[in-house]
């Protein structure tokens, strides 16, 4: 078996005294799409932030292609890992093109102007994400969906081999949701990008994922291909709600008094 793109063992993290991840073991093979599912606060976003080096783990190991993440230079990891946050509160005005150009920051020098090469890549990325016409607009005044696509263009300009996406489709209208998914699948196919994707959309997970990781209270509840991980029983344990298949898809039909299960039926 090849070295996984990302591998976590015993990974733990906390916000102050609140434990967010509690000894998570997981891995993603290069070029695969891993979808993270779990209730709010189960540690999905925390895992992305640890991989993006926004947070430091309190315990455990995180490896990028077999090398310990904490031993790699930060700029090098930023050239290989792109992070698209769920939402960004922009205080200062910034042109969309300048925001996309920030994706080139891990390649530039401290005080240099953006090179023509950087500008070209930013323009191409914006065209690919259907936001070329926004390039002169102030990003702080965009709608949520537009902002999302601009940040996606930035990830494209960053030329990273791993994408971390935190609920990238929430708040998108059907057309832009579809457009986003087509774009993601195209990039994934053409560049072999490894994708780690947080969502609450179970249909989307089953459609897109090579593998699904179900998280509950900071631990892995189950990991496997959608057909194996997305069963009513496991979903019930993860979300604390009863699931039934309706019109070919699993739907939560009632909540359970006990909430999500603490300990796990493993696959």
């Amino acid at each position: 078996m090849s070295v996984p793109a990302i591998a976590a063992s015993g990974l733990s993290a906390a916000y102050g005294t609140t434990r967010a991840l509690d000894g998570l073991d997981t891995s993603v093979e290069a070029g695969r799409i891993l979808v993270l599912l779990g209730e709010n606060g189960s540690g999905k976003s925390t895992f992305l932030k640890l991989v993006a080096r926004i947070l430091e783990p309190t315990a455990g190991q995180l490896a990028l292609e077999g090398r310990s993440l904490s031993e790699l230079p930060r700029r090098e990891t930023a050239r290989r890992i792109a992070y698209v946050p769920q939402s960004v509160d922009l205080v200062f005005p910034i042109r969309c093109e300048d925001l996309v150009l920030q994706g080139r920051a891990p390649y530039g020098r401290a005080f240099s102007s953006d090179s023509p090469e950087d500008r070209r890549r930013a323009r191409d990325a914006m065209a690919a994400c259907d936001v070329a016409e926004l390039s002169e607009r102030d990003a702080s005044a965009l709608s949520g969906g537009e902002k999302r696509r601009v940040f996606l263009a930035r990830a494209l300009a960053q030329e990273a081999s791993i994408w971390l996406l935190d609920e990238p489709t929430s708040g998108l209208d059907p057309r832009h949701r579809l457009q986003f998914l087509e774009l993601l699948q195209r990039v994934h196919r053409e560049r072999g990008t490894t994708v780690v994707f947080v969502t609450h959309d179970i249909d989307l997970a089953s459609e897109l994922a090579d593998e699904v990781l179900l998280l509950s209270r900071g631990r892995a509840l189950a990991q496997g291909p959608p057909a194996a991980a997305l069963t009513p029983g496991l979903l019930e344990a993860a979300f604390g709600a009863r699931f039934e298949a309706r019109a070919g898809a699993l739907r939560a039909v009632s909540t359970l008094p006990a909430g999500p299960q603490d300990r796990t039926p493993k696959l």
């Binding site: 916000y15 509160d89 205080v91 910034i94 920051a105």
Partner: protein, 325 residues
Amino acid sequence: MSPRSAPRLRTLAVCASLLVAAALVGLTVGGVKLDWRALSAPGDAGETARLLASLRAPRVALAALVGASLALAGAALQALLKNPLADPFLIGTSGGAAAGAAVAVLCGASPLLSPGAAFAGALVSSVAVALLARRGGRLDLHRLLLSGLIANAFFSAVLLGIFTVGSGETARTMLFWMMGSLADATPGRVAVLLPYSVAGGAALLAFAGRLNLFAVGEENAAALGVDVEWAKRTVFLAAALLTGAAVAFAGVIGFVGLLVPHAVRAAAGNDQRTLLPASALAGGALLVAADALSRAALAPGELPIGAVTAAVGAPVFAWLLLRQP
């Protein structure tokens, strides 16, 4: 629409021209009318040249350095904290610097050590305010301003205490620090201030690119490869150094660090690689011009420079606060 970042060189050229123009006004204005023809005439240029070299030029140079230091520190703090209201005066750094310098004078330390003592005071204040303003691991906007208010109140109390205990000469010095003044400019003081300003300024300019990423958010900077803890420490230290040095020689002069970056940002966009150096030049120009105004208005007396900047700055600050969402 946000303004497209104006070309860096053009923006810097405009700000540099403002500084040169302000300096020419600053050299000309004052209690004694200069005889410029005497300066260019062969022979008896003595009196005018002496006046320029020993009084006017050091004063203009001090105003330029102090204005540049405060504006640069303000601009960098605004980007670092993702907070357009950050300013060394409002968040208590200047107050801490003044108290530090005053304590050193009370203890009989050499004036050469004043910048060091002011830097130490600025640092203590910065750290205390940052700790007070932290909530859930991040600096909160409202808590930051409130913490600055608390720090300012505390350091005013320290200054007033020293003011009461100290001799007549010390009391005069205290007043100077609390109100801000450029009246004690000498070539020697400018020479001592210069290396502090250059060191702090160079450190901040080296972080300009990374500050662009901070202006979108600290997580943003981290995800794009910035060592955020190292960057925060360096920028805080450099801003405290600039503020401390400025306060040691000119007292507490408020609002320069708030107004100048705002004006430059509105005119030339928020690219820190342009904004930081342009703010330094424009801050120097503003303080030189304000100083010339304060000398011209009541000649041969003068208004305290801190009063001039506060009279202009406070209403603008109020307007900015009202515009905050």
